[in-house]
Every structure is written in structure tokens, then in C-alpha cells.
């Protein structure tokens, strides 16, 4: 048992400064979001009085409802889901197979192929953007969800492969050897022995790839033209330019697109932070 109450800790001057600094930084981080919340809660003429004034009448829910109706957010969210789910599944499965192959199997051109894929980690989207547009156009995929799914998934593969490879390399090869001795084929060893262990790596990969896909702006911006096909970020951009001066409705729209994220983040905070920092740094 630790000794209790022996030393009453009074905050030192240094600590007070540290906390003031941290709280100041937190305020700085949150103020833009507070502005969104306040703007969405008041009527538009009131917005012009100042961003941090409190609403005279709290009309958040009326604004949210109106934004939802005129802003087609239901449609945008549906489109984002239609794009994100297949993209994540494609990256997850192909990266798992390829990552396993690079980590645990021996074949001749392995190093060459791995460096080829590693290069993809560094390429900026500008390196493929122009030609990819015309390639997808030739396949008649421009202005379909598939154009976005294919572009983001193939761009996400290098990171996914890299990550799954590192993960499988951290698993002991003896596990596979043991499975082989028990009469498993290579595929069976992967399916029954390795995949169940891959779950933690998948969670990080899913979070990273989902965020990346859900938030991606430039790919749908280039490849999708119809309003009815737009995912959330693109929809929000056009919604914003359409209701340019109706700030409270725009703020309500922003809130609608942030809300699912906030809920997920509060539940999965640690996983989110890990998945995204790791993802970005390796990617």
C-alpha cells in the first residue's frame, strides 16, 4: 500500500505554467470546432454579429434537419459507404495475401517485386493523376464509384502490403512449419494458422484505410461529376459553394459529416491514433 496523504502535493509554479500552456493549446485546437457548433445553433443573421456570440435562440436541431433535407447528406453518406467498404476490403485481402507472400515464402524475384511496390509508397498522387484519368476513361469508369474505388485501393496497396508484411514477419515461422508437418498445404497454413492471428494488424489497416478513403477529396473531385454519386467531402464542398452565405446551414452540414467520426473516435481513440500515425509514417 502506498503511503497516503504524507505529502500534500501543491501545484508548483512550473506545473501551473505547463497546464496553462496545455489548456491554451487545447482551446486553440477546439475553437474552430466550437465556432462550427455555435454557428449551427443560431440563425444566419446572427452569425454576422460574431463567431463566438451565443445564440439568442437555440435552433441547432432545426438547422440540422434543414441541412439534412436540402443538403442530400443521406445520399452523400451512402455514396461514401459504397466507396469505402469495397476499397477497404480490396486493400485488406490483397495486402494480406501479398504481405504474407513477401514475409514467409521464398521465390526468385521477391526482392525486386518488393522494391517495386515500395516505390509506390512514395509516389505522390500527381505522378499518376493525369494518365490514370484517361486510363479509367478508356474503361468507361470515369464518373462511377468504381473509378474512385480502384484509384484509392491501388494507391493504398503499397502501404497495406508493407504493413502486413511487417506484421507477418513478426510472427514466428515455426507456426507455419508446425502446420506443414501436421499436413497443411501452404494455403491452409495461411488460412487457418496465420489469418486468425492477423486480426490486430487488420484493425489498424481498416481504420487507416477507411479514414483515408472516407476523407479523400482529390480522387472523387477528379473522377466523379454527377452530384448523385458524390461522397461526403465532395458533396460538402458543393453544398458549401451552393449555400455560400447561409453559414448556419453550412455549419449544420459540417456537423452532420463530423458527428459519426466523433462517435467512432471517442469509442476507439487509442486504435485511431495508432492506426493513423503508423499508417501515415510508413505510408
Amino acid at each position: 500500500m502506498p503511503v497516503k496523504g504524507r505529502r500534500k502535493r501543491v501545484f508548483s509554479v512550473g506545473q501551473v505554467i505547463v497546464y496553462l500552456f496545455l489548456i491554451g493549446a487545447a482551446m486553440y485546437t477546439l475553437i474552430p470546432l466550437i465556432i462550427v457548433g455555435l454557428t449551427a445553433s443560431k440563425s444566419n443573421p446572427e452569425v454576422l454579429k460574431g463567431p463566438l456570440t451565443l445564440p439568442s435562440e437555440f435552433i441547432l436541431f432545426r438547422n440540422l434537419k434543414e441541412a439534412w433535407t436540402i443538403g442530400h447528406f443521406g445520399m452523400y453518406i451512402k455514396n461514401s459507404i459504397i466507396i469505402t467498404v469495397p476499397t477497404v476490403l480490396i486493400v485488406m485481402f490483397l495486402a494480406t495475401f501479398a504481405g504474407y507472400s513477401f514475409a514467409k515464402l521464398r521465390f526468385k524475384t521477391k526482392d525486386f517485386l518488393f522494391y517495386l511496390i515500395l516505390t509506390g509508397l512514395m509516389l505522390p498522387f500527381q505522378a499518376v493523376m493525369i494518365s490514370l484519368y484517361f486510363l479509367l476513361n478508356r474503361f468507361h469508369l470515369i464518373n462511377t464509384h468504381w473509378s474512385v474505388i480502384i484509384a484509392i485501393a491501388s494507391g493504398g496497396l503499397p502501404f497495406g502490403i508493407f504493413m502486413m508484411r511487417s506484421f507477418f514477419m513478426s510472427l514466428p515461422t515455426e507456426l507455419i512449419e508446425a502446420a506443414r508437418i501436421d499436413g497443411c498445404s501452404e494455403i491452409q497454413a495461411l488460412w487457418y494458422v496465420m489469418l486468425p492471428l492477423a486480426f490486430p494488424a487488420w484493425v489498424s489497416l481498416i481504420i487507416f484505410q477507411s479514414m483515408w478513403t472516407w476523407n479523400n477529396f482529390i480522387v472523387p473531385f477528379l473522377f466523379i461529376h454527377d452530384n448523385s454519386l458524390r461522397p461526403v467531402p465532395l458533396g460538402l464542398m458543393f453544398y458549401q459553394s451552393e449555400y455560400y452565405t447561409n453559414y448556419s446551414l453550412i455549419a449544420a452540414g459540417v456537423l452532420i459529416s463530423i458527428l459519426p467520426l466523433v462517435i467512432l473516435f471517442v469509442i476507439l481513440q487509442r486504435r485511431f491514433i495508432e492506426g493513423i500515425t503508423m499508417g501515415a509514417l510508413k505510408g
Binding site: F21, L22, A98, L116, V128, A151
Partner: protein, 302 residues
């Protein structure tokens, strides 16, 4: 010795061939997708950079003309310079505060996870939201920044920040740094948790103050991580497109024009696809060169 189990050469050969077949089989789907939609477009972009093309008519071979034009193009240099300024700004207002906050949070702090979550949160937002929110803060009529200035008696400084050539780029940097410092903080905090705590005690006993400890004890221990984050930031800041395009579209004039927005403009807005491709190739070469540096640091830093 004789009892030791040994595979016959035939058996071993069969096994490695099977392994090889499965190795390729598992790679195949990923390689096909990657080959068609990443590698082919890269190669095609390089080829395209030697042609003149409006996107519809025939491609006309012009040899190095696009590259010569790019090196003579004032706006390419402006864009490059703006990318450099943007990078420096993000390091100053994103990486550096991230390092400071991580150092503060590494001590005994009540509510660390809450602070961490708050600082990190902007990173989760799509750049469209970041752009909307910060364009409001910089708004000349009801923007928070002008209001604060007026409140403290500096009202004469109030302006439409994103519309002024001199202030547009710094304003964009502030918005970009807002989404970045929490991300840097998380990385630095992870690195700091791996440092040796006894060194801090020793330094404190020797009478070093907080700043001295930070410079002489903390920094040397995480210098590779710091270098890694800085190089990563350089790469990231040269790739940036969304935020700048959404806030200013490169304007006013070319005040916030960066490589990525200029490539977009030349190709998809003005239909000089060959010329756009040549600038894209130059940008890619630059990023690849820095990435090699990054991989070096990553090996040592992680």
C-alpha cells in the same frame, strides 16, 4: 548422423517449387491492380511529358520542350518557392509545437489522454471541413481573427486574410498546421516514452532547468525521430493539394500557387496535359529523392 532425417533432393526441389508457385499466386491480384493502375500511369505520365496533348486530339511529340518550358515558367518557380515556404511554416507551426506539447505531456500530467485526443482530433477531419472552418476564421466580415484584433485595439490590422497576396500563404499555413501538430505530438510522445528516465533525474540533480534538460537530454535521445518527422513533413508538404485548392485555389494571383495546384490547373483546367505531366514528373523526382532520405532515417529512428 545416419538417423537424422534428411529430405531427398527431389523432395526439396518439389517443395520450393510449390512454395514459389503459391508465392506468386498470392501476389498476383495485388500486382495486377498495382501494375495497371499505379505503375502503368506513372510510366505513361513520363511518356506524356514529352508530348503536347490537349486530352482529345493526337499526341504530338515535342521532345524536351515541356521541360524547357517548365524551367522557364515563372509560375513553376513561384510554386516551388511557395512549397518551400509552406514546408518551413508547417515545421515551425506544426512540428515544433508538436514537440513542445509532447515534452510537456511526457511528464506527470492529469488528463493526458484527453489532451492527446483533443490535439489529435483535427487530423481526422477531411480537408474540406478544415478549409470551410478556417475560411470563416479568416473571413473579413465576421471572422474570429479580425474580431480578436478589433477587441485588443488592433482593428487597423483587420483584413480579408485569404484575399491579400501577402497574407494568404501564411493563413493557409496556419490552417495546415492546425491539423498537423497533434499528429506530430503523438509520434514524439511515443518516442519520448522510450527514453531513459534516469537521465532526467540525473540532470535535475545536477541543477539543470527545464529548457536545458530539453535541449541537452531529451533532444539527443529522439533526434532521429525528429529528423524523420521533419523529412516526412517535407514530403507531405510538397504533396499538399486539397487544403490549398479549397482555401484559395492558388490565388490571389499566384500567391498560394503550389506545385500540386499548378499541375492540376495546367492539366485539368487548361488542358495542357503534356505540360502538366512534365511538372508532375519533376515534382515526383523531387519527392522520390527526399523519400530515400526518409527511409534512411526511418531505419534508425523507429
Amino acid at each position: 548422423m545416419l538417423l537424422k532425417y534428411k529430405k531427398s533432393p527431389n523432395q526439396r526441389k518439389y517443395k520450393s517449387m510449390a512454395e514459389e508457385r503459391i508465392g506468386y499466386l498470392l501476389l498476383l491480384p495485388a500486382l495486377v491492380l498495382y501494375g495497371i493502375f499505379v505503375l502503368y500511369p506513372v510510366v505513361d505520365s513520363v511518356v506524356l511529358s514529352f508530348y503536347k496533348w490537349d486530352g482529345a486530339g493526337p499526341r504530338i511529340f515535342v521532345s524536351l520542350a515541356n521541360y524547357i518550358q517548365a524551367f522557364k515558367d515563372r509560375v513553376v518557380w513561384i510554386s516551388f518557392r511557395n512549397n518551400v515556404i509552406y514546408t518551413a511554416g508547417i515545421i515551425a507551426f506544426g512540428v515544433f509545437p508538436g514537440l513542445i506539447l509532447a515534452t510537456l505531456l511526457a511528464g506527470k500530467i492529469v488528463g493526458r489522454t484527453v489532451f492527446e485526443a483533443i490535439f489529435f482530433f483535427p487530423r481526422l477531419l477531411t480537408q474540406v471541413i478544415v478549409a470551410i472552418v478556417w475560411s470563416w476564421i479568416f473571413n473579413p466580415v465576421f471572422g474570429l481573427l479580425n474580431q480578436v484584433l478589433r477587441t485588443v485595439g488592433l482593428g487597423f490590422l483587420a483584413k480579408g486574410w485569404l484575399g491579400e497576396p501577402r497574407f494568404a500563404l501564411p493563413a493557409v499555413i496556419v490552417a495546415g498546421a492546425w491539423t498537423y501538430f497533434g499528429f506530430c505530438m503523438v509520434i514524439f510522445l511515443a518516442a519520448l516514452q522510450n527514453t531513459d528516465p534516469t537521465l532526467y533525474d540525473a540532470a535535475r540533480i545536477d541543477g539543470a532547468n527545464a529548457v536545458q534538460i530539453f535541449i541537452n537530454v531529451t533532444l539527443p535521445q529522439i533526434k532521429y525521430v525528429v529528423a524523420m518527422v521533419i523529412v516526412y513533413t517535407v514530403i507531405d508538404s510538397f504533396k499538399v493539394f486539397d487544403l490549398v485548392y479549397l482555401l484559395t485555389q492558388g490565388g490571389p494571383g499566384h500567391a498560394t500557387q503550389i506545385m500540386a495546384t499548378y499541375i492540376y490547373r495546367k492539366s485539368f483546367a487548361e488542358y495542357f496535359f503534356g505540360y502538366g505531366a512534365s511538372i508532375a514528373v519533376l515534382l515526383t523526382c523531387f519527392i522520390l529523392a527526399i523519400s530515400v532520405l526518409y527511409l534512411r532515417y526511418q531505419e534508425r529512428g523507429m
